[in-house]
């Protein structure tokens, strides 16, 4: 369980998160949505400890995330665009991360097979396409079977085959009782994956609830329109 209490964060004069309270539960996929610069990425990075919250508490299974590297062993993170050292090969990268964590993953080969990475394992990452690198990133995210998954635009740049495999994987992890937080611009993806939506506007949570609820409140049967309405501030 991921728990946020009164989480605030400012960058200089700009208040990005304004006292957020939220709970993300096991076996649920929560989509964080909101307009650009509404604080989505900051929220996710705060949970990861990449951004250090000014105020409030973030707890992962009861442990603080603030300057606590151990809390991150519980999180798998897939960034929007994975950046890797150019000269490493995927297999070296994966081995190196395992070495870094002092942890051998029994899932490694299954994941490599699943994301069809085998033919690319021995090429330097710099020559790989964006999609292939995204697959490497996906392997890395699921590698240590973490209880929390944070996925930032996970299917961006993936071909349809890989994309649907990834979605299957996410749903599978959900069934296995993971806490899953994701963002996506693709509405069909949200409809397919998300159990609930957390709507951020100017650093505040303006809505948290199921997809049906959002449709009901806006009176728009289509999710995209419903969300757009929210963004324009008409759903409140």
């Amino acid at each position: 369980m991921v728990n946020l209490q009164q989480v605030s964060k400012s960058f200089g004069k700009l208040e990005v998160l304004k006292g957020l309270n939220a709970t993300f539960e096991e076996g649920k996929i929560t989509a964080v949505v909101g307009p650009n610069a509404s604080g989505k990425t900051t929220l996710m990075k705060s949970i990861l400890g990449l951004v250090l919250a000014d105020d409030g508490q973030i707890q992962i299974d009861g442990e603080t995330a603030f300057h606590n590297p151990l809390s991150r062993s519980k999180i798998g993170y897939m960034p929007q665009k994975a950046q890797f050292p150019d000269n490493l090969k995927p297999i070296e990268l994966l081995n190196w991360v395992q070495d870094l964590r002092d942890e051998k993953s029994p899932r490694l080969h299954a994941l490599i097979d699943y994301f069809q990475l085998t033919p690319h394992l021995d090429k330097p990452l710099r020559v790989l396409s964006g999609g292939t690198r995204q697959k490497v990133s996906a392997v890395l995210t699921f590698l240590f079977d973490p209880p929390v998954l944070i996925l930032d635009e996970p299917s961006a740049g993936l071909d349809p085959v890989a994309s649907s495999r990834l979605k299957d994987k996410i749903l599978e992890e959900k069934r296995r009782g993971k806490v899953i937080i994701l963002t996506s611009h693709v509405m069909s993806e949200l409809e397919e994956l998300a159990d609930e939506v957390l709507f951020l506007l100017e650093g505040k949570i303006v809505f948290k609830g199921s997809l049906d609820e959002i449709r009901k409140r806006t009176g728009e049967p289509r999710l995209e329109r419903a969300i757009a309405k929210f963004m324009e501030g008409r759903g409140l």
């Binding site: 964060k9 960058f11 990075k45 990861l48 400890g49 990449l50 951004v51 250090l52 300057h67 590297p69 151990l70 809390s71 991150r72 062993s73 999180i75 993170y77 960034p79 665009k81 994975a82 950046q83 890797f84 050292p85 150019d86 000269n87 490493l88 190196w96 991360v97 070495d99 870094l100 964590r101 890395l140």
Partner: protein, 282 residues
């Protein structure tokens, strides 16, 4: 649960050991990634060619030492700054990736810095040390001179790559950071000495040798230069105009103080870098 004192200290020792261990692992990746990159190879070859050329065409090993000293004072800081900054920005996203792993920030920073600094130092030592070892010794260069040159080059590489990291950490904008780095470089290599020159001219009526010595402690480039010069006969020239310089820098205490200042100069930017890194939002 209350831990006994012994258990607590055991845990803190364990934690420290794991910090070092993780740092080494972070470093290992940077080290090999950089070693395989074109830049570090070009950098090594550059030294190899220039130093061998100086030794081969210069004829005299001490003359080659002086020319290599110029490299150490001008090129090493510049390359360390520029390469340090580009490396910092180039690996910035990857640092994020490491930070999403269960590794403490100190380990990440120190390991990452070492992963840059050690290849830089290795490139310098290999590129300019090897020719001296192979040809310089035969040409009668004093081993103390070569050693001081290598020490100076190593410390200058460390100092300026640490400065680069620090500058990169506190500046999101690359262009601004690069401008700042160039300003630091110009400031420490030229402008600082220009001010010393001005100071000497304005204060010519006063015995300012002591002040000049103290002022030179604040500039790692000046310190490195003086450290190497003191191992050369050329040091006597400094004594020629007033024995104060030679007496201070020539004494063991003087060498100890200047070496100590250089090491402090290395430690401070690393410390400040680490401090900013711990507070940074990625």
């Amino acid at each position: 649960m209350i831990l006994s004192h012994n258990q607590a200290s055991l845990q803190s020792t364990k934690k420290r050991r794991s910090t070092v261990k993780s740092a080494l692992k972070v470093m290992k990746y940077g080290f090999f990634d950089l070693l395989r990159s074109r830049w570090i190879i070009i950098y090594t070859l550059f030294y190899l060619v220039v130093t061998s050329g100086l030794l081969y065409f210069g004829g005299d090993a001490n003359q080659a030492v002086l020319s290599t000293l110029n490299l150490v004072l001008l090129v090493v800081p510049l390359i360390s700054l520029v390469l340090g900054l580009s490396y910092f920005y180039y690996t910035r996203d990857f640092i994020e990736l490491i930070l999403t792993q269960p590794i403490g920030r100190s380990s990440v920073f120190l390991g990452h810095f070492a992963g840059l600094a050690l290849p830089l130092v290795a490139a310098f030592l290999l590129g300019s040390g090897l020719p001296f070892l192979l040809a310089g010794v035969r040409q009668g260069a004093d081993w103390r001179v070569i050693a001081s040159l290598m020490v100076a080059g190593t410390l200058v590489s460390l100092i300026f790559s640490a400065l680069a990291f620090w500058i990169g950490l506190v500046n999101e904008e690359r262009v601004k950071a690069l401008g700042l780095a160039l300003a630091v470089w110009l400031g420490l290599t030229m402008i600082y000495d220009g001010l010393l020159l001005l100071f000497s001219i304005l204060m010519q009526a006063y015995p300012i040798e002591r002040s000049l010595i103290i002022l030179s402690l604040f500039n790692p480039i000046d310190l490195s230069r003086i450290l190497v010069l003191l191992q050369l006969d050329t040091a006597a020239l400094m004594g020629y105009t007033g024995a104060v310089f030679q007496r201070f820098f020539g004494s063991y205490l003087g060498i100890l103080i200047s070496l100590g200042s250089l090491i402090l100069w290395t430690a401070l930017p690393i410390y400040f870098g680490l401090r900013s890194f711990k507070k940074k939002n990625f």
